[in-house]
Amino acid sequence: MIEVKRPKEAFLSVFAYRMAPKEELFTRGHRACQGCGAALGLRHVMKAAGRNTIVVNATGCMEIVSSPYPYTSWAVPWIHVAFENAAAVASGIDAAIKVLKRKGKLDPNKKINIVVFAGDGGTADIGLQALSGMMARGHNVLYVCYDNEAYMNTGVQGSSATPYGAHTTTTPAGKVKFGQGYWKKNLPEIAVAHGIPYVATVCPSFPLDLIRKVKRALELPGAAYIHLFAVCPTGWGIPPAYAVKAGRLAVETGIFPLYEVEYGRYRLTFDKKLKPVEEYLKFQRRFRHLTPDLIKTIQERVDAEFARLRVMEEATNRPDYRSVSGI
């Protein structure tokens, strides 16, 4: 058995939260729904990223709620252009910063982070091509997909990140169909396949783990991808008060495994005995039609995926493992 060194700071005592950076760069007065997991996630990401950050936002919930003219919830430079091209706009900004630094028009020693925020629709579906191009070219950009598992901004339509069996307005559960009919697209693995230095999954229910991963992503040169699990009380049909709890349960049941892949090396950052998926599924309106058979199918898939991640972790941490990332 290979010993994997795991970060411990994420699971310190409750008082550890006080260690989180105090500066708020995604400011209040935004118009996200009550208990919005994405807004909470953005707030945490911005704490980690800090002031020297340019944010590129794809069209979507977070863009809408944070920028109805004349208000902006962004204390850092922020740009929104369209739905599918956030990674492309970020590529251009990265190129600009590189050349302006080379020419001395920007201080070459000043580190400027570029962070993209895009939803699951803007990432898994319409923005996938631009994201792939950005990662393949290795731009110095951190792409954060806040995944609320459907097109929430337009009223809960299914995306390719909508989980199997979930009811949405375009994948409704009916007499002959049971909701979303195919498995959630595995975006972190698509990012890993690009051989970029850093890929991670985060959930704002684990804020210190999130902050650490964002900082790591920004430290490493080149493109980084972070998949942020964003609980959506409105779209999922859960009480807003349970938003953080739902995120925690998604992690604890293995529905949303927390891990990071640094230069090709996998590391599970939450690896405990998993709770049954039913605990996560049962209190959400979007899953209430699921039959025991379907829940069993989901459980098998979750177990298989978690086991696969453990295998990947072990295989990629062997002393003789050589990663192509970063070479």
Partner: protein
């Protein structure tokens, strides 16, 4: 300044390099590709200190150029036809977000059937996207206008993207004699690019906010004023260029228009071909002329009226190189016709279309266009629709 024989595509790339573009993001498409290939070469050889982004689509080409431009870098891209159609969404946003990107547009027809050859259906599709749009009719013009486009678009009172149109293959792939500048000569002509609200961590601004119904109308009015007012800067830049380097550009160019009875109104490389026809036919006693609509947006209403309503011109035959299906067919024709609507001494406006999808327009076909004008004058009837010249039927 020295005169060299050079492929027009290469000259256009050299114009962008002369402007010291900082970010080039482009995707291959015929007949534009030689332009960005040459820029890539200049970057690879260290002759141009720029970032060349090999994007994965034209949509990204424009998106990246927009991002770079608002981040404070001089940005350039080039495309044609389907590429422009694909980037359409961002073409509109680039002007709305006031990013002075310069785009060299090698005009090519739109599919289907797929045709890599020249007409103006690509640019006409982008007519209402809020870009300054200028036509070049030879290699020298393409070179000069591309270089000047940066100075126009980046002017603090303008801050708008500029597209320079030139005909695919007919210009892009042809070697022409072009007067080319040394860097020293133009050094102080083009000031460094400074966007007043660039993405700056020391002075944060938010770009591209949500425009609720309470704001959208005002936003569009502001944009419309900006492009309308850009005309002053366009003229000023062209005047300064003429004074310093001797080549003068006008929004509406005329050739024997002052004493012509019939003029052909053109855009792009057909202008010079029509001029050759006029030279020849004047020898045969025809009082014909050519008027070139160089500046497409902002539309030069006053210049056009001044040239066309001069009391000599009885008929203007507008040559459209694109079709508006189900409408009057001729996009330029209907714009010219409506621009002259209130003029008392306006000439008859007749529309013709030719040279679609790269078909050559022969000498006799130009003559035919003027003759259509003569016939309409004789019959005193202005046709509603465009007449397609050179159509087999």
């Amino acid at each position: 300044m020295k005169r060299v024989g050079i492929e027009v595509s290469i000259a256009i790339a050299e114009a962008a390099a002369l402007a010291e573009v900082e970010v080039v993001s482009a995707y291959p498409i015929t007949p534009q590709t030689h332009i960005v290939e040459h820029l890539a070469e200049l970057v690879a050889n260290g002759e141009l200190n720029a970032e060349f982004i090999t994007v994965e689509s034209e949509h990204t080409a424009m998106s990246a150029a927009l991002g770079a431009s608002l981040a404070g870098a001089r940005a350039f891209t080039s495309t044609s036809s389907q590429g422009l159609a694909l980037m359409n969404e961002i073409v509109y946003i680039t002007s709305s977000m006031r990013a002075p990107v310069v785009m060299a547009l090698a005009n090519r027809s739109l599919s289907a059937p797929i045709s890599i050859w020249n007409d103006h259906s690509d640019v006409m599709n982008e007519r209402d996207t809020g870009w300054i749009s200028i036509f070049a009719n030879n290699g020298q013009e393409a070179y000069d206008l591309t270089f000047m486009a940066f100075k126009i678009g980046e002017h603090p009172n303008v801050l708008l993207p500029v597209m320079i149109n030139f005909d695919g293959f007919i210009l892009t792939h042809v070697i022409e004699p072009v007067w080319m500048f040394d860097k020293e000569e133009v050094k102080d002509f083009l000031p460094p690019y400074e966007h007043p609200y660039k993405l700056d961590v020391d002075r944060p601004t938010s770009h591209g906010p949500v425009g609720l119904p309470d704001i959208y109308t005002e936003a569009k009015k502001q944009q419309e004023e900006a492009i309308r007012n850009s005309r002053k800067i366009i003229d000023a830049v062209w005047d300064e260029f003429a004074e310093r380097f001797g080549r003068r550009y006008r929004a509406v160019e005329e050739y024997y228009a002052d004493d012509a009875e019939i003029v052909l109104l053109t855009q792009g490389s057909v202008t010079e071909a029509a001029q050759v026809v006029v030279d020849e036919m004047r020898k045969r006693g025809k009082k014909w002329g050519v008027v070139e609509l160089r500046l497409w947006r902002p539309f030069p209403f006053e210049d056009l009226k001044k040239v066309l309503c001069n009391n000599n011109i009885k008929c203007v035959v507008v040559l459209d190189r694109a079709i508006s299906f189900g409408g009057q067919l001729g996009i330029v024709m209907s714009e010219v016709r409506s621009a002259l609507y209130h003029e008392k001494n306006k000439p008859m406006v007749v529309g013709v279309t030719a040279g679609l999808g790269g078909r050559d327009i022969r000498f006799d076909e130009y003559v035919k266009m003027y003759e259509i004008g003569e016939k309409c004058l004789k019959e005193e009837k202005e046709p509603d629709k465009v007449i397609i010249v050179g159509l087999r039927e």
